[in-house]
């Protein structure tokens, strides 16, 4: 038995792509949940549909933004919400990115697809404290130009000197696309970082995480400095439902963010 959710009100629902919406929610009553750190997640309840784990793509005081892709019944219900609608929220759960780990060094923020959402607060945090960090790189990959999330922000960053130093690539270009084509790993050559003093924050499909982390370690980043966010089914957020096991790791409790030193042996076993 877990604590019941806290009601939140949708203050903004912005369409990102054909199947993705950014929902900004604020406490409906006098009090909300304790503060979220970048990378932590909430269990978000869509009335009558169910509950799913969602990370935050923006943390603005008590206002939280979740970027949701409609892939199942609950996420589809959340994507249909309008301003003023209510959701239930539990959290914050899990480990965060711990952006502080990168203080004094370069940052590599690498996102594939919807993986960009939980990384945006990392970019925001680094931009808010420019003197604390070295160079800030944001590398983004998507299937196609139409799938790029937060396209306006990416566009501004990619066409300005930064920070962040932003590079974008797509797997399949569309007419009019003048940017790069290829996997996100191919952007590493254009990134500006000193492998001996860099922390990487990586989120995306598991194949992409695997390829990218291996490449970074090959380039000399110590594995524990490659922070990856992993995904598995979650029903509770509190370490009790057992679904999010990945070997000895309970992702809702020991993750979702973990070092590549811990993740590598787990992700190298098929169907673990």
């Amino acid at each position: 038995m877990t604590c019941a959710p806290v009601p939140y009100r949708v203050v903004r629902a912005r369409t990102e792509t054909a199947d993705t919406v950014s929902l900004t929610v604020a406490p409906a009553g006098p009090s909300g949940l304790p503060p979220f750190a970048p990378g932590q997640f909430a269990m978000v309840h869509a009335f009558g549909a169910g509950e799913i784990p969602l990370s935050t793509s923006c943390i603005d005081g008590p206002e939280l933004t979740h970027t949701v892709r409609a892939v199942g019944a609950v996420s589809a219900a959340l994507c249909r919400l309008r301003t003023g609608d209510r959701v239930g929220m539990r959290g914050p759960f899990g480990t965060g990115w711990e952006v502080d780990r990168a203080v004094g060094g370069d940052l590599l923020v690498v996102a594939g697809g919807i993986g960009l959402a939980p990384l945006l607060p990392v970019v925001d945090a680094a931009r808010a404290a420019p003197h604390a960090y070295g160079r800030l790189n944001l590398l983004v990959g998507a299937r196609a130009p139409a799938d790029l999330l937060h396209a306006h922000r990416l566009c501004t960053w990619a066409t300005s000197p930064g920070p962040p130093h932003c590079l974008v690539t797509v797997d399949r270009p569309a007419p009019g696309w003048r940017g790069r084509v290829g996997v996100v790993t191919s952007l590493l050559n254009g990134a500006r970082f000193d492998p001996g003093n860099t922390t990487a924050f990586v989120c995306g499909p598991e194949v992409m995480i695997r390829a990218l982390a291996r490449d970074l370690v090959h380039r000399g980043l110590p594995p524990h400095r490659v922070r990856v966010s992993l995904e598995r089914t979650m029903h509770c957020g509190t370490g009790h439902c057992g679904h999010c096991q990945l070997g000895g790791v309970l992702l809702c409790r020991d993750g979702p963010v973990t070092g590549w030193d811990r993740a590598a042996p787990l992700l190298s076993v098929r169907e673990l």
């Binding site: 877990t2 009558g48 169910g50 509950e51 598995r232 439902c241």
Partner: protein, 388 residues
């Protein structure tokens, strides 16, 4: 738990009084009873309902009740039920949500009063299993409040094993057959020249208090206390099975790519029976239930099994699509990754998963086969290195 501890003797009337007293104290007494050809756990209204005169014969994939001439009440082994059905029930409402008149939502946490249980006849392995579920469900940062309330309110009467079953291996897991801790009262049933009686030890102040209300006599150090110890020690020698005496955690960690998983996968039906009967398996899923008005929704939790194809999935589909990977998840979790997650083994050697597997898959046999395969692999590696 403080205070001095007592050892005494109850006769059959004392056992009757135990059930009566616990009920009079407002407790729901649950214990073993014969139903549908098995010893199951159910609410008892009197000690008469205990399985007097019934034993069990168990083997991999087989369970049979057998009448006993001696009239013993606790000569059976673990059955298809475990105490988790009461402490961590199969279905439980977590919270409800209601739409309010002004378009809002309100959430109500489930806070129905929990039953005050007394469990009669808890085996040593099951005492350990309860302690393990305590750590999983209440030992971390978040606690399962319903579980904690039912658990802290429960009165535990252990029954030490004197007649182990063919699938039992608690001795090799260090969790039985003697009840060492975690009980309020512990019984050891004796049937000898001195008659049918129950040596009872207290394990808590609550246990002392209950014992004081029962007709009992002091235990004779030789005829009762030592006889009880001997009976339990005898059971230790007669376990039907044993886990291989190796570091199971390390064995599993080194066996993730073993060939044995294909062998067991060819037999396993992925039915999940083993997870349902296991007293430590705790996994659950949730479901949303709405009423006809559409203004009221409820969140329910129910047992789930890692053998279910849908247990964990990524956008691309199930993570563990093969039977091989699902059986591996179950076994490595029980014997290895449980340590990392909750600081102990997830197996107590109760034998239920062996008895109730429809195709007689045996966790001790699988562990032994994995051990043989690893030893073989290491030997071959050593040889190649020497040859180089």
């Amino acid at each position: 738990m403080t205070g001095s501890r007592t050892t005494a003797v109850l006769d059959r009337d004392g056992l009757d009084a135990l059930v009566g007293t616990l009920r009079a104290l407002g407790r729901t007494v649950v214990g073993p009873t014969v139903r549908d050809g098995a010893v199951v756990l159910a609410e008892l209204s009197s000690a008469d309902e205990l399985p007097f005169g019934w034993g069990t014969r168990v083997e991999a994939g087989r369970y049979r009740l057998e009448p006993r001439a001696d009239g013993a009440a606790f000569a059976h082994t673990t059955g298809p039920h475990s105490w988790k059905a009461f402490l961590h029930p199969q279905r439980e409402r977590l919270w409800s949500a209601d739409r309010t008149a002004d378009g809002g939502l309100s959430y109500t946490e489930e806070d129905a009063p929990q039953p005050s249980y007394a469990f009669l006849g808890v085996r040593a392995c099951d005492l350990r299993a309860i302690a393990i579920q305590d750590r999983v469900l209440t030992g971390g940062r978040y606690e399962d409040r319903g579980y904690r309330e039912r658990r802290t309110g429960a009165f535990l009467v252990a029954a030490e094993c004197t007649e182990p079953g063919g699938t039992c291996f608690c001795a090799s897991m260090g969790s039985g057959p003697a009840a060492e801790a975690g009980f309020d009262l512990a019984l050891t049933e004796l049937l000898d020249a001195d008659g049918h009686r129950f040596v009872v030890r207290t394990g808590s102040d609550a246990g002392e208090d209950v014992l004081a209300r029962l007709p009992h006599r002091a235990a004779d150090p030789r005829a009762d206390t030592a006889a009880a110890r001997d009976a339990v020690a005898g059971a230790r020698e007669r376990m039907g099975r044993a886990m291989p005496p190796v570091d199971l955690q390390a064995l599993m960690g080194a066996s993730l790519e073993a060939e044995r998983w294909d062998d067991v996968a060819a037999r396993c039906l992925t039915c999940g029976n083993c997870t349902m009967v296991c007293p430590t398996c705790f996994c659950t899923t949730t479901e949303e239930v709405t009423d006809l008005t559409g203004d009221h929704a409820e969140r329910w939790q129910r047992w789930d099994s890692c053998f279910d194809l849908d247990f964990t999935h990524l956008p691309g589909g199930p993570v563990r699509a093969s039977a091989r990977s699902r059986y591996r998840q179950w076994l490595t979790h029980k014997l290895s990754t449980w340590y990392e997650q909750f600081g102990s083994s997830g197996c107590v050697g109760c034998g239920r998963c062996i008895t109730w597997c429809p195709v007689a898959i045996d966790i001790t046999e699988e562990a032994a086969a994995l051990h043989d395969e690893l030893a073989d692999r290491l030997r071959r590696q050593e040889r190649t290195e020497q040859e180089r």
